[in-house]
């Protein structure tokens, strides 16, 4: 019986829960909108009105705007409740535009978002206030369900509920119960819609316009492009230095040994032979250096086997043992593959060095046009990645592809790093590069 009981309870809770949650959300939205919106509207109007008065408004209005943006920013954060989150449209504060300066005032008034926020304050207070209904309705319904009106009518002889206002007789008093059920049911169905409507309406004012969205996007692209160009240049510089000090220098020494051996061949064949064997050795070292360099530029196994095979090969070379799980119906673009490979390599190196893990795992999954790479380990956790320049480099590299990286590493583990790279897959990879394995 109790099993049935608890399952019935579970079903009822399933039905009631969304309405109950939204009722509480509605209360929060209503309180926030009714109080701050009205106050901020008044402050805004006053500070604007003070602009002709000795310029007080020039300093005051930007300060009020800071408050408005805080409050509206909170609304944007709460908009997650509506499943249609509202993004932030503001341009970054220019350098040297601190509060009280003329530059700050110009920046504030020239940003369309300022005026759209201002225009929303009063309408937002109205829709937000309407959300109070979301909280009140279920309780009013509950009052009827729990026979409170009958009781009060009996005691005070004067009470009203629902359509009977005031009640004239006990029949009407008793009818408050079915009314209560209706109101309670409606009161649970309506709140999610009220909250949704509030934020939907707010979105018209508070969400970035298409132009603002483009401006934000351009800013993001400019920043990541600059990062990419910088890191490419640094990378080329590193390769140049490695070649110059490494393989190139060794080849020069090699030629000198061979040249000397050539001279000595007739007079001192024993010494010539020794020089040649030294030359042989030097050429071997040059090859090792070149191989390492090539691996750092674009690992050959990546060219030969794609991301799937390259990560499998990588997993074989590190401790602790790594489980690799791949679900890639095709190949990501070569640049994305390379970024993902180096990210995994960096993270596995970290696992080996710092985690003390007994097992690690890597999964590569492509779904909904996003390549999701997860690297996890069962080590001691508590990893802090902010100061780690290697990880910062990985993050920067991913950002060039609009990729993101999130790290969870509670003390005691496990550490899980999730990277997401938007990309399309092609069916069969064919590397255009030439050369030989």
């Amino acid at each position: 019986m109790s099993a049935v009981d608890s399952s019935v309870r579970a079903v009822v809770w399933q039905l009631v829960r969304p309405g109950a949650v939204a009722a509480v959300q509605g209360l929060a939205v209503a309180l926030l909108s009714l109080t701050t919106n009205v106050a901020l509207f008044v402050l805004s109007v006053v500070s604007l009105a003070l602009i002709p008065a000795f310029g007080i408004g020039f300093a005051l209005f930007p300060a009020v705007t800071v408050l408005v943006r805080l409050s509206v920013g909170l609304q944007r954060r709460l908009s997650r409740w509506s499943r249609a989150p509202i993004a932030s449209p503001y341009q970054p504060v220019p350098a040297g535009a601190s509060l009280g300066t003329w530059k700050r005032f110009r920046w504030v008034v020239s940003d369309a978002a300022t005026w759209r926020d201002f225009a929303w304050l009063i309408p937002g207070a109205i829709t937000g206030g309407a959300c109070l209904l979301a909280f009140v309705l279920p309780f009013y319904g509950l009052e009827g369900v729990l026979l409170v009106p009958i009781l009060l009518y009996a005691i005070t002889d004067w009470y009203g509920y629902g359509v009977f206002w005031p009640m004239d007789n006990y029949l009407e008093a008793w009818l408050s119960m079915p009314q209560g059920w209706l109101i309670f049911g409606g009161g649970l169905a309506v709140p999610p819609w009220l909250v949704w409507l509030h934020f939907r309406f707010a979105g018209f004012f508070l969400a970035p316009t298409q132009a603002q969205e483009l401006a934000l996007r351009v800013r993001h692209l400019a920043a990541t492009r600059a990062d990419t160009i910088d890191s490419q240049a640094a990378e080329l510089r590193r390769i140049e230095r490695d070649l110059h000090d490494g393989a190139q220098a060794r080849l020069v020494a090699l030629r000198m040994s061979i040249g000397l051996a050539e001279e000595l061949l007739a007079d001192d064949p024993a010494r010539a032979a020794r020089l040649l064997s030294e030359a042989q050795e030097a050429s071997g070292r040059a090859l090792v250096e070149l191989r390492d360099l090539v691996r750092g530029i674009y690992p050959p196994v990546l060219a030969e086997r794609g991301l799937d095979g390259a990560v499998q090969a990588l997993a074989l070379t590190v401790t602790p043992p790594v489980d690799v799980d791949v679900d890639l119906p095709g190949s990501p673009p070569a640049a994305v593959e390379s970024a993902a490979y180096f990210a995994v390599a960096e993270l596995l190196t970290n696992v080996a060095k710092h985690s003390g893990a007994g097992r690690a795992w890597v999964s590569l999954v492509h779904r909904d046009a996003v390549l999701r790479v997860v690297v996890g380990d069962d080590g001691r956790g508590g990893a802090s990645f902010d100061v780690d320049s290697g990880l910062a480099g990985v993050r920067r590299r991913l950002a060039a592809f609009d990729g993101t990286m999130t790290v969870t590493s509670p003390p005691g583990g496990p550490t899980v790093v999730t990277m997401e790279l938007p990309c399309a897959l092609s069916s069969r990879r064919i590397s255009p590069s030439s050369g030989t394995g």
Binding site: S283, G284, V294, A303, A313, L316, T319, S431, T436, G437
Partner: protein
């Protein structure tokens, strides 16, 4: 001994042919791209094949794929795979059929002509030759593993030499010990790794590598 070569760079193809010729091998065909490898092997059934991993037209791992396909079609066909880089993944795939006659070497090793020819001969005889770099990676990675951890430094050294495909006599020569000492080390290794002793050179190395590959 009849050899088929697959190598796309003419310079290296000619070099390999010249070296093998000089040591009395007969290069029956030297192909330059992936799709020609398997037909050439089927046509000639050579005593040993020397294949480059990366070949046209895709410049991925066509040579390795051809080698694996050939071993399925002609089980035990001796194949020596050459590459600019070595991957344990590839070594594992080449050893997966647990037959002898497999070699996997860095291309640089060809420059030591004597050793290279020795490797070709051992592969042709059904032996196994792994590049020292593969072996050292394996040993470095598995040093912490439970059972390998019980090996002494000397035994690990011997294990490495075995994996590179050397005979007891060759190992003894390289480590400056007697052959008898080597076989004692090897017996110790087997018992520590929980494997029955065997006289078969090739099978014991395959067993060791299979263990190392997990």
């Amino acid at each position: 001994m009849r050899v088929v070569i697959a190598e796309d760079l003419a310079l290296l193809r000619d070099g390999l042919t010249r070296i093998l010729d000089a040591y009395g091998f007969q290069v029956v065909e030297a192909v330059a791209d992936g799709p020609s490898v398997l037909p050439a092997l089927t046509r000639h059934r050579p005593d040993v094949a020397v294949l480059d991993v990366r070949l046209p037209p895709t410049f991925t791992d066509e040579g390795l794929q051809a080698a694996l396909a050939a071993r399925v079609e002609m089980p035990g066909l001796p194949i020596l795979v050459l590459s600019q880089h070595v991957e344990q993944l590839y070594a594992r795939e080449l050893l997966a059929d647990r037959r002898g006659g497999v070699g996997y070497l860095l291309k640089d090793r060809v420059s030591n002509v004597g050793q290279f020819i020795d490797a070709v001969r051992r592969v042709a005889d059904g032996g196994m030759v792994m590049d020292p770099e593969v072996v050292s990676q394996l040993l470095a990675r598995n040093a912490g593993a439970d059972r390998l951890g019980e090996l002494t430094a000397r035994e690990r050294e011997v294990l490495g030499q075995m994996a590179e495909g050397r005979s007891n006599a060759a190992i003894a020569g390289r480590l400056f010990v007697t052959e008898k000492a080597v076989s004692k080390h090897i017996n110790n290794i087997f018992s520590k790794l929980g494997m029955p002793p065997s006289d078969d050179d090739n099978r014991r190395v395959l067993a060791v590598l299979a263990y190392l590959n997990g």
